[in-house]
C-alpha cells in the first residue's frame, strides 16, 4: 500500500508531543549547506477568540500515504537531500507544535521555496482535520480559508 520512500524521507504521524531532537539526525549531513525547520504551533488568539487547545484527527493510513507522496514529489522537484515531516494528532495545547517539517539542500533558495510548497500541498491534500476549542466553551471544525 505504501509508496516506496527513499532513505532521505521520514514521514511520521504521532500521538505524542513532537520532539525535534529525535528527528534532527535525518537532516544533518556534512555535504549539505542549508537546513530549514518549520514548526506550526497552536496559537492562543485567532480572530479575537481565545483558543484553549486544538484536537487533530486523521484518516491515518491515507494521511501517511499522502504525506509520503508529497514528500517524494517535493524532494524531487527541488532536488532536496532530505525531508522530514511529523504531524501530531489528538489534543495539542496552546504553545505546542502540531507540525514539524525539516528539509536540507545544497541550495538555500530551493530549500526555502520547497518548504512553502510542501506545506501548501499538505494543507490542501492530506486528510487531517483540526477542531478548535475556545475559552468560552464553544468548539468548531476549522475550515481552510
Amino acid at each position: 500500500m505504501n509508496t516506496f520512500l527513499p532513505p532521505r524521507i521520514h514521514v511520521e504521524i504521532s500521538h505524542e508531543p513532537i520532539d525535534r531532537t529525535r528527528v534532527e539526525e535525518f537532516i544533518d549531513d556534512p555535504d549539505v549547506g542549508a537546513h530549514l525547520w518549520f514548526e506550526g504551533v497552536t496559537r492562543r488568539m485567532t480572530a479575537g477568540q481565545e483558543t484553549v487547545r486544538l484536537c487533530y484527527e486523521a484518516f491515518e493510513p491515507m494521511a501517511k500515504q499522502t504525506l509520503g507522496e508529497i514528500a517524494v514529489q517535493t524532494l524531487d522537484e527541488f532536488q532536496l537531500t532530505a525531508l522530514v515531516v511529523v504531524h501530531r494528532l489528538g489534543w495539542v495545547p496552546v504553545g505546542e507544535a502540531s507540525l514539524l517539517v525539516g528539509c536540507s539542500s545544497t541550495h538555500r533558495a530551493a530549500a526555502i521555496e520547497s518548504l512553502a510548497k510542501f506545506i501548501n500541498r499538505l494543507k490542501t491534500d492530506v486528510p487531517i482535520w483540526k477542531k478548535e476549542y475556545f475559552a468560552d466553551g464553544s468548539s468548531s471544525w476549522v475550515h481552510p480559508t
Binding site: 484527527e57 491515507m62 491534500d125
Partner: protein, 82 residues
C-alpha cells in the same frame, strides 16, 4: 446491488454521529453518483457533501471516476492539517 461501507471523518462524522455509513450501489457507477446517493440517503450530510472529496481505496478520485468493484470509500471534508 453491492453494499459499500463509507468512512466518515470530522464534520461529516459529527453530522451523522458515527464513523461510517452503508450504501447500496449498482456497479459500475461513478464517484459523482455515489456522492449523490449519500446526500439523498443521509440528509444530515447534504449541505456538507458538495465541499467534500471522495477517496476510493485511500486515493482521491474525481466525480467521473468509475467504481467497478468492491472498494473502501471515504468522504473527505475540507482538510485543515498543519
Amino acid at each position: 446491488m453491492v453494499q459499500f461501507q463509507v468512512l466518515l471523518f470530522a464534520a461529516a462524522r459529527d453530522a451523522i454521529g458515527s464513523d461510517s455509513i452503508e450504501i447500496e450501489l449498482a456497479l459500475p457507477n461513478s464517484a459523482g453518483e455515489v456522492m449523490r446517493v449519500i446526500a439523498n440517503e443521509y440528509p444530515a450530510l447534504a449541505t456538507l457533501i458538495p465541499s467534500c472529496r471522495l477517496a476510493v481505496n485511500q486515493v482521491y478520485v474525481t466525480r467521473d471516476f468509475s467504481i467497478a468493484d468492491a472498494a473502501e470509500l471515504a468522504i473527505i471534508p475540507p482538510v485543515s492539517g498543519g
